[in-house]
């Protein structure tokens, strides 16, 4: 990975000094050996600050949206970031010519807390970038691990057990909205949860309100989710949020498939926001 890091630094310096891009988004070193932070490099001489190793756990793509309008921006993109780029393009938040994608095939990251493979990497379906302007390093094999084990477990529960599972899950939620802020699908200017709807949604700190928030957010992102797992990683309370997202991916595949998750191409429409005159209208 050290070679890859060197190449990223070289390429970032070259792109910045040639003026082709105004910024490069990647990772930088943190205060501890195993902590990395998203880093936006704007000067060629700072390119040496870019880091790429097994501790780059964050999904950086959403930083792109903070720098639109500043000319072309380069993004060091693994499979997950590249799908996010497609997601932004399909959601009209970005055009392809606004971003320069430095693709990096990703071997999977390590969870600093446990020393094991990060959960979102262990479930990853797309390790190689699906879109890139250049590729740094050789493509890695795609093991496509089974990602519905948790879904299977919840599905097998009885109604009561399932209720208890979700109650416990949302009982822990502190409504910090880290999941939303991390999500590349959440690009609304004003989230529904910030809106005033007296009697319908509140900001109270209880399981019902949290569940309402969680479920509505899940539906809002359901057909577009790129399965990066960043919501779950970002959650400070460790909620198993991906179980809902994976369930939706599987249901959409069953009902409207074949469907393998969002962000694999940069074109819409997504399964749940299509109008087809030959759609089955069972209720009519």
């Amino acid at each position: 990975m050290a070679d890859v890091q060197d190449t990223i630094r070289e390429r970032a310096a070259a792109l910045l000094s040639s003026g082709e891009v105004s910024a490069v988004i990647g990772w930088g070193a943190g205060r501890f050996d195993d902590v990395r932070f998203p880093l936006v490099v704007k000067r060629a001489e700072d390119a040496g600050k870019l880091v790429f190793d097994a501790s780059c756990v964050q999904m950086t793509a959403k930083r792109l949206l903070e720098h639109t309008g500043e000319g072309k921006v380069a993004l060091v993109a693994r499979g997950c970031e590249s799908r996010a780029v497609n997601r932004f393009i399909a959601d009209h938040q970005l055009t392809r010519d606004q971003v320069y994608v430095i693709g990096v095939p990703c071997p999977g990251m390590v969870d600093p807390a446990t020393g094991e493979t990060l959960k979102r990497c262990a479930e990853c379906q797309v390790r190689n970038p699906v879109v890139h302007d250049e590729l740094v390093g050789d493509p890695v094999p795609e093991p496509k691990p089974y990602r519905f084990a948790e879904v299977d477990r919840v599905e097998a529960m009885s109604r009561e057990e399932r209720r208890a599972f979700f109650d416990e899950m949302y009982g822990k939620c502190i409504r910090c909205y880290a999941c939303r802020n991390a999500c590349p699908c959440c690009t609304c200017r004003e989230c529904f949860v910030e809106q005033d709807k007296v009697g319908w949604q509140g900001k109270a700190f209880n399981v019902n309100e949290a569940r309402y928030y969680g479920m509505i957010r899940a539906f809002h992102t359901g057909d577009r989710c790129i399965e990066c797992g960043e919501c779950e990683r970002a959650c400070p309370m460790g909620l198993p949020l991906m179980v809902i997202m994976h369930q939706q991916v599987r249901d959409i595949d069953k009902l409207f498939g074949p469907y393998e998750g969002g962000g694999l191409t940069d074109s819409g429409p997504d399964p749940l926001r299509t109008y087809k005159t030959d759609d089955i209208e069972e209720f009519m």
């Binding site: 959601d91 009209h92 938040q93 690009t187 609304c188 200017r189 004003e190 989230c191 529904f192 809106q195 709807k197 009697g199 319908w200 809002h220 819409g268 429409p269 997504d270 926001r273 299509t274 109008y275 005159t277 030959d278």
Partner: protein, 663 residues
């Protein structure tokens, strides 16, 4: 605080019979913001309207809830009352449907009354959220497009053109005329079908305001009432109509002579360069690209050699044009059900002498393949015993279609009459389920056929087999006597069901309108708006809307024409203000609404907006108010709720639900 007036209608006993209307008014008085509640026997009557107007003035009301029939019925009328006789904006009105959705579906006042109160409470809650809405003017393009050139399309075209508006007829086949010129005689008067339809065809051709595009199909329709941009593909005819004189030399010399004639229902042949029948309009031939040897194999070229004016052009290509029309009439007609695929018991098409009613029309027609002599297709002999089977496909939900095709009883009787007229001593058996003759002089015609000796047997044929001597053994039951009937027939005529033409579904998508479950176009209201569709500016004529006979088709075409003329007469029309509206400040331009809109009414545009006292240019969604039909799909798809439907805003609907849920 709004001041809402609630007006509860008795509708005679329609509502008052199952709903205690006084109790509803009493309950309404207790509802928030209600300043007045009262009842009237007929709210829609002149006296009822005056009552509403007087109370609005007297009590200084600023919102109105009328609890009556479906808003589909009288909402427009009540809006008009508000607009013309009061100072209230007509969109500050809610209709609570306590008739169709309440009194008509319940029998018991104990159930009907509380439900009506709930419905009124919901309407009151929503009325409080209503805002003033304003219409604007949409210009009207004074041209009409007719899709389909059968008798319905022809009649509508002539009527509209005679009123002084230019008309384009788009016809998929090589000639206009549709099925009518194929028929021999028309019931009940027995006048010659071609003699009354072909003059209308040539009238169309000669009319200065009518343009005919044959071999053409509508590919795309954009725009809205008054302003449809229609893309039409006119397929290559391989003949330059400016040069062609219609002399027919090419037809005589074409070596490809064995192509089954569509006009004669496969009972004679035609050439590859052909005119389907002598009176075809345009009266010029077309080259059938699927059968022409020059176009399929690259060799032959006989027609080009013999053409005296050099009109043959093998290099001809499709022409695609886009033009603007104010109104569109769908007159796409019908097809006959493919009985061979469905009815194995009738031989599935393997017996040459089991023919369809339309084939019989050609057999009995003087210009048909047998010059009007009824002869069996198998051996050319005259059938002495003929069996007519009605309702083949019709009224047969298991194999065919569930509906009645309406014309078959009459043309079945006509076929029986014609057979007995042309074959002296011939025996005709008609197997029927019912005999339906509701038309002027129809039953008299049927009775006459009976008196001539046609044997009507109530029951269906269960099986037709062919014996080695060529007789068709028809097995059936006479359900009146309960006996099994067996007829050795020489020929069998199946009166087959009318079904929607191939491509109706695709056309419905193209023009953005609905089909019913049978596949015919749906009218806006079966009784009150029978020739309109739910899409403004789109009208229906003839069998495109459902099976009917020629008199009804022509009458409906005239009605559609009257609607079109009414529209085209206007300089401009009022827009519907109940359309989607996008709140730019909330819109992130994700385009979900663009993808989901069935009417292509939403587009993404770059807008310069003021945000936080800064000018920013962003992409946001914009609704074309002419195209928007107010369906609300975008408001549901919009996650932050930037898209809202005027007159049905999210707030109002939530308040309605609350009003119901908290009662």
């Amino acid at each position: 605080m709004s001041r809402i007036g609630v007006f509860v209608c008795h509708c005679g006993t329609n509502i008052a019979g199952t709903v205690d209307v006084e109790a509803v008014a009493d309950a309404a008085r207790q509802m928030p913001n209600v300043a007045y509640a009262g009842t009237n026997k007929y709210m829609c009557s002149a006296q009822g309207q005056d009552y509403i107007v007087d109370i609005i003035k007297e009590h200084n009301l600023d919102r109105v809830v009328i609890a009556s029939c479906s808003p589909r019925m009288h909402e427009r009328l009540f809006r008009k009352v508000l607009a013309e006789k009061t100072d209230l904006n007509p969109y500050l009105l809610e209709v609570a449907n306590i008739r169709e959705q309440c009194s008509w579906v319940h029998k018991d006042k104990q159930i009907g009354t509380p439900k009506a109160i709930n419905l009124v409470a919901m309407a009151v809650a929503k009325a409080d959220c209503d805002t003033q809405l304003f219409t604007h003017e949409i210009p009207v393009t004074k041209r009409a497009l007719i899709i389909g050139g059968g008798i319905a399309g022809i009649q509508a075209a002539l009527d509209i053109a005679d009123a002084g508006f230019p008309v384009t007829i788009v016809e998929r086949k090589t000639t206009i005329g549709g099925k009518m010129p194929m028929l021999d005689k028309t019931f009940p008067t027995l006048d010659c079908s071609a003699c009354i339809s072909t003059p209308k065809m040539s009238e169309c051709e000669a009319h200065p305001l009518i343009e005919i595009k044959t071999l053409s199909e509508v590919e795309k329709v954009e725009g809205y009432i008054g302003n449809f941009d229609v893309t039409i593909r006119e397929k290559a005819k391989y003949i330059d109509y400016d040069k062609c004189t219609g002399c027919g030399m090419c037809e005589t010399k074409c070596p490809q002579k064995k192509i089954p004639s569509e006009f004669n229902q496969g009972m004679s042949t035609r050439t590859a360069v052909y005119k389907p029948f002598p009176q075809a309009v345009p009266s010029k031939p077309t080259i059938d690209a699927d059968h022409c040897r020059m176009l399929t194999e690259g060799k032959c070229g006989v027609c080009a050699k013999v053409c005296p004016t050099g009109a043959i052009d093998y290099q001809d290509v499709d022409r695609v044009t886009t033009e603007r029309y104010g109104a569109i009439v769908l007159a796409t007609g019908y097809e006959l059900i493919d009985w061979t695929r469905l009815y194995g018991e009738y031989g599935g098409g393997r017996y040459a002498d089991v023919i369809s009613g339309l084939q019989f029309e050609r057999l009995v027609n003087a210009s048909g393949p047998t010059e009007g002599h009824i002869l069996r297709p198998s051996d050319g002999t005259e059938p002495k015993t003929m069996v007519i089977v009605k309702c083949v496909g019709s009224r047969d939900p298991h194999k065919g279609v569930p509906y009645c095709s309406r014309a078959c009883c009459m043309y079945g009787a006509k076929h029986a009459h014609q057979f007995m007229d042309k074959v002296p001593g011939g025996k005709c058996f008609v197997f029927y389920m019912d005999v339906r003759t509701p038309g002027k002089n129809y039953d008299e015609f049927y009775m006459n056929t009976l008196h001539e000796g046609a044997r009507y047997i109530r029951g269906r044929i269960s099986k037709i087999t062919r014996r080695s001597d060529g007789k068709l053994v028809c097995l059936g039951e006479d359900t009146l006597s309960g006996n099994v009937v067996e007829v050795d027939a020489d020929m069998v005529v199946l009166e087959t069901a009318m079904v929607p033409p191939e491509g109706a579904k695709k056309l419905a998508q193209t023009v953005n309108t609905q089909l019913g479950p049978e596949g015919f176009f749906t009218e806006a209201h079966p009784k009150l708006r029978p020739v309109e569709t739910n899409t403004g500016g789109l009208y229906l004529a003839g069998t495109a809307q459902g099976p009917k006979d020629i008199p009804d088709t022509v009458a409906q075409a005239g009605a559609a024409a009257a609607k079109v003329i009414g529209l085209l007469c206007k300089q401009s029309i009022e827009s519907n203000p109940m359309v989607a509206h996008v709140d730019d400040s909330k819109c992130s331009g994700c385009g979900a609404c663009v993808d989901i809109c069935p009417y292509s009414a939403v587009t993404l545009v770059e807008k310069t907006l003021r945000e936080n006292s800064r000018k920013v240019t962003r992409t946001v969604a914009q609704v074309n108010e002419g195209l928007c039909q107010g369906c609300g799909a975008c408001t549901v798809a919009c996650r932050p709720g930037a898209s809202d439907l005027l007159g049905f805003n999210d707030e109002g609907i939530m308040r309605e639900v609350e009003a119901y849920a908290t009662r």
